[in-house]
């Protein structure tokens, strides 16, 4: 199978300006088509901006919103991943990422882990998703594991996606740059952490990792970009600059997946039945412990 051409849309969304951001998505989808891209990936909340607070309900859309379908139609032969505030039929608001393909919304991942500490306050404004599953891409003939930002700071995410057959782990992010320190190569503690996470997950799941992070500024926070693609052997094959907005083109070679998975058959040797048994036991003991300590005077 031929190499796949990727377009990483490292954009700076306008906070709360859904229509403006939709126009920007259309522009970049057109541009990516001009480059004959196979897959275009936009960052977390690329359609709305990140620090929404009470604007969350004002920019929320349903997953069958005609504006999402218009993006899917504009995608033509390409697969496109976009992220937005999703309102469910029972009016919960989620941070979602959707795979658009064949003129339709093919898969939606709702962010499962919502950081609510330090500079983050997501749980106040959003409901957490409860599903971590891979999805088939017919166009790409690959199984994709889509996650959103903080999802990747929990080991269960790459593990479940890989066990569910994902060959490409895609994380879309709005990662704020912080911890500016002289000791790091990039100058940013956050960037160093993400790079080591991406590399580790690629290597441990023998999958491609595609990480797309936004740039620009919401209020006090500057997002650092640095989107990257890591090969199944852990080698970084592409890295976009930090802070610069742009549509960055690169490619991945599915043949690498086969080579790496034969050379390092880590997934073959996974023991999910052991994991689930142990988890059941650990959770059971925890519940017992909690129950016991609740009874203590």
């Amino acid at each position: 199978m031929a190499a796949l051409r990727l377009a990483l849309a490292q954009i700076a969304p306008r906070l709360g300006a859904l229509e403006t951001n939709l126009r920007r998505h259309h522009e970049l989808i057109d541009e990516a088509r001009g480059h004959e891209a196979d897959l275009v990936v936009f960052p977390e909340l690329g359609l709305t901006g990140y620090l929404l607070q009470d604007l969350n309900a004002e920019v929320a859309i349903r997953r069958n919103d005609p504006r999402l379908l218009e993006l899917a139609q504009a995608a033509g032969n390409m697969s496109v991943i976009v992220s937005f505030v999703e309102e469910s039929s029972d009016h919960k608001l989620y941070i979602s990422a959707a795979l658009l393909e064949n003129q339709a919304v093919r898969h939606v991942h709702r962010k499962v882990f919502l950081p609510t500490y330090g500079l983050f306050d997501e749980r106040r404004f959003f409901a957490p998703g409860s599903t971590i599953r891979a999805a088939n891409s017919e166009r790409l003939d690959l199984r994709l594991g889509i996650s959103v930002c903080e999802d990747f700071w929990h080991l269960a995410t790459p593990q479940l996606l890989a066990l569910d057959g994902a060959q490409v782990l895609i994380n879309v992010s709005s990662s704020p740059g912080r911890d500016v320190a002289a000791v790091n190569e990039t100058g940013l503690g956050t960037a160093e952490s993400w790079r080591s996470i991406n590399r580790t997950y690629a290597q441990l799941t023998t999958s491609y990792v595609i990480f797309v992070n936004r740039v620009g500024v919401d209020e006090s926070i500057t997002f650092w970009g640095g989107s990257e693609v890591v090969a199944p052997d852990g080698e970084c094959v592409f890295r976009a600059p930090t802070h610069d907005e742009g549509l960055y083109l690169t490619q991945i070679d599915p043949a690498e997946l086969r080579r790496e998975r034969i050379a390092s058959p880590l997934l073959r040797d996974e023991r999910p039945e052991v994991v689930i048994r142990q988890l059941d036991q650990i959770i059971g003991e925890r519940l017992e412990r909690d129950a016991r300590s609740a009874k203590r005077p």
Binding site: R14, L15, G16, A17, T20, L51, L52, Q53, D54, L55, G177, V180, A181, A182, N184, T186, G187, L188, G216, V217, D218, E219, S220, T222, T242, H243
Partner: protein, 291 residues
Amino acid sequence: MTVTDPRPPAFELPPELAIDTAAARRIIGAFIRAQLDQAGFDKVLLGLSGGIDSALVAYLAAEAIGPQNVLAVLMPYRTSSPESRGDAETVVSDLGCPSELVDISAIVDGYFEEGRTDASPMRRGNFMARARMMVLYDHSVTWSGLVIGTSNKTETLIGYSTLWGDSASAFNPIGDLYKSQIRQVSAMVGVPHAIIAKAPSADLWPGQTDEEEVGFSYATVDRILFRLVDRRLSIEEVVADGFERELVQRVDRMVAGSEFKRQVPPIAKIGPRTAGIDYLYPRRRPGSARV
């Protein structure tokens, strides 16, 4: 090739406080442009005292949006040090930015001469800081620019600032930099050596220096604050790290005692939605920018 500066280092930079100045400069430049863009402005103004903080902000703003868009307002009082004024003028000519001189003596003296001649230096200092704020905000209208803040993290944390005076601004690009880091970034962006090397002073009375007034060096207080605030160490842990207990406790009290200066005033909760409590929006909403 590295060019070695033959002069002795102008300041002490504790190693744990050293930052990647290129990364900080990049973030600050983007921050300044974004704040203006969101508000629909393209110019800023600031009070330029001749000290390092406002000099650094002037250089960073000039780099971010061009010196022609940065108005430096020099606001000396009659007892202000002529050296400070000279240093401010050096910055203006080095950057090539527009500037204005407003002597605040008449405003300040007019108030205190009317039956308040016994006012303490503290009252006078605060009044001067607030007089400068009034002048800046008036110029904000005539210049069509936003007032850019020049308070650093050290003085903000210990409360060494005048509420609604020097702390007042539309946005602050250097408020998360300790004084030691202000010096480090200043050296990189080209702030004149003399400004970096001189003893920091609020210049509220002749010969005043910050470090004499509060009784410790910025390098030391920065190291203590970094441990207490950023690294979340306890007083015991900071003392164990080699700092004088009395000083650590004093710094801790200063931080706690000035919490109110760092927050917007509380509003009595009465209605269903209250600003800052359960009415939470970005400062700049879509469609709110000046056109």
